[in-house]
Symmetry: C2
Subunit: 338 residues, 2 copies
Amino acid sequence: MGEVNIKKLACELNLSAATVSRALRDSHEISTETKIRVLEMAKRLNYEPNPFASSLRRQKSKTIAVIVPEIANNFFSLAINGIEEVARERDYHVLIYQTHENREIETSFLNRLLSGRVDGILISLACEDVDKEHIEKISDQVPIVFFDRVDDDIEGVKITTDDYESAYNAVQHLIENGCKKIGYLLALNSLSTGKKRLKGYLDALKDKGLPDDKQLILKSSANNDENHTLIKNFIAEHRPDGILSSIEELAMPCYYACNELGLNIPNDLKLISFSNLAHAQLLNPSLTTINQPAFEIGVEAAGILFKIFNKRWYEPNETIILKSNLIKRESTRGFTII
Amino acid sequence: MGEVNIKKLACELNLSAATVSRALRDSHEISTETKIRVLEMAKRLNYEPNPFASSLRRQKSKTIAVIVPEIANNFFSLAINGIEEVARERDYHVLIYQTHENREIETSFLNRLLSGRVDGILISLACEDVDKEHIEKISDQVPIVFFDRVDDDIEGVKITTDDYESAYNAVQHLIENGCKKIGYLLALNSLSTGKKRLKGYLDALKDKGLPDDKQLILKSSANNDENHTLIKNFIAEHRPDGILSSIEELAMPCYYACNELGLNIPNDLKLISFSNLAHAQLLNPSLTTINQPAFEIGVEAAGILFKIFNKRWYEPNETIILKSNLIKRESTRGFTII
């Protein structure tokens, strides 16, 4: 794949591939002026020569990169642990990178990973609109496996959970425990992951004969600091008796908002959240969660990446779906009839 | 600094520096056999040539590495956010790496970061015994700034908090609220950070006239899965009426242990923990914490690193100490006299 890039560079520069190759190796046969031209074009086209990528021997970086929106998230830190376990067995290092849900940061970092810095990439996409073309361009050069936050429009292996069913079951549980006005905290709506969760929510309402009121869907901010106020205002104005939070970052703001509004969880409002909040059990009240098999997702995603490295068989456009669990706790407790 | 290494390689190989340099550039003037010898020695001595480190121009990687024991830790994820904020302003990327408290993993990763992969390193040390010599060898080649988990024996800039005073004040608070038998959950004891926290605990006991009973100090495991049982047995056997946990990973196991032993926090046992547990306020009961200024530590540490990059003045062996805060909550509430 290095060769292809040198050819591309050569073509763009109207030079021979041999000249480009020598320039990149800082050969004395090439003038400084040409070297600068080559390096500038290499930079512009995101080509980064690997010191060991010469024909002398094909050294691997023995490093994989994991790109996630946030590390301060129990789901992602567990998934990373799963990835690391697989990598460690194969003597690979794992670099972690967080995008803070910012597409520009994600893109810029992906560019840096091209050509030899890492052997492969595991990515959970930021929630802004995906630049499909750019990601596919990168995956032509470095193997990429997608996990959890995926986009079905992008080609590649994807490891997800049963997002639709999980949201559907959560809403059904809220209804069974007496909720009639269920709010939804929306996130990831530009990704397939988010769309499926939303659809699960809407379909459950419909199947149970509850109206779907657009006002009960709160679009969260990518900036978490804003979500506390957004959620507090949302609860105060619409007074839902149940809430499904589509990501874990939005669950704690519900607790703070209810405390401030003098509302009791679960009596005034029942709450369920995606996904692996570490100490959901110790909260006051303990929180009902949709637990994704985060560690297993990491193991599975890394396993596929190593299959790609080792040229073992895998289905190039497969989506592997692991099941989540609804863990019922105090925050959704129904009324007890004595 | 590249030159020094090429000289070292040349010396080890009994070759001229020019030959080594050409071999590393894959020059046609050098035989394949020699190239292999040079690359093997380069690998053995942890020398990794930077493709852009030639005299043509000194390209920076524009990347810094942050090495922390765990990312699933509120202190570290906040500190990383602080580091990223500073890096972003300067258009630098931040790679994150977790060592899981394992010295071998830490060392192996540090070796990979030598010579051009990153421009600098921010590290919070794993809690196993430090290999002082190795870290100093690396810091000769890549600027390193230490934060939070530091070792005073290693030369370098260090950003810490007032660990001694924080532990002292925490114990004093427990005593003021009625505790007479205060346990200490020990971690980091191979590092200055841990030693200062322990000394703060011991001195506070002494100053307040409480005996220091070695049995009330529980040495935690680096493997978090084991700590739950260790702590449960410790509480069951010694029945402390107060506990100071020296790291946040040990606080939640205390909650679970008390639940299982039928002990009430704070009535039977009062609990304080280092450090920034995100939702300490929402726990049942809410947890008294020693909050370290984690974000600020990150900002400060990254700021020093950029001073080093820009050759601006800094004190090469300075320890910068930021103050922590004791946030009193329900878990240490004293008896109310009516």
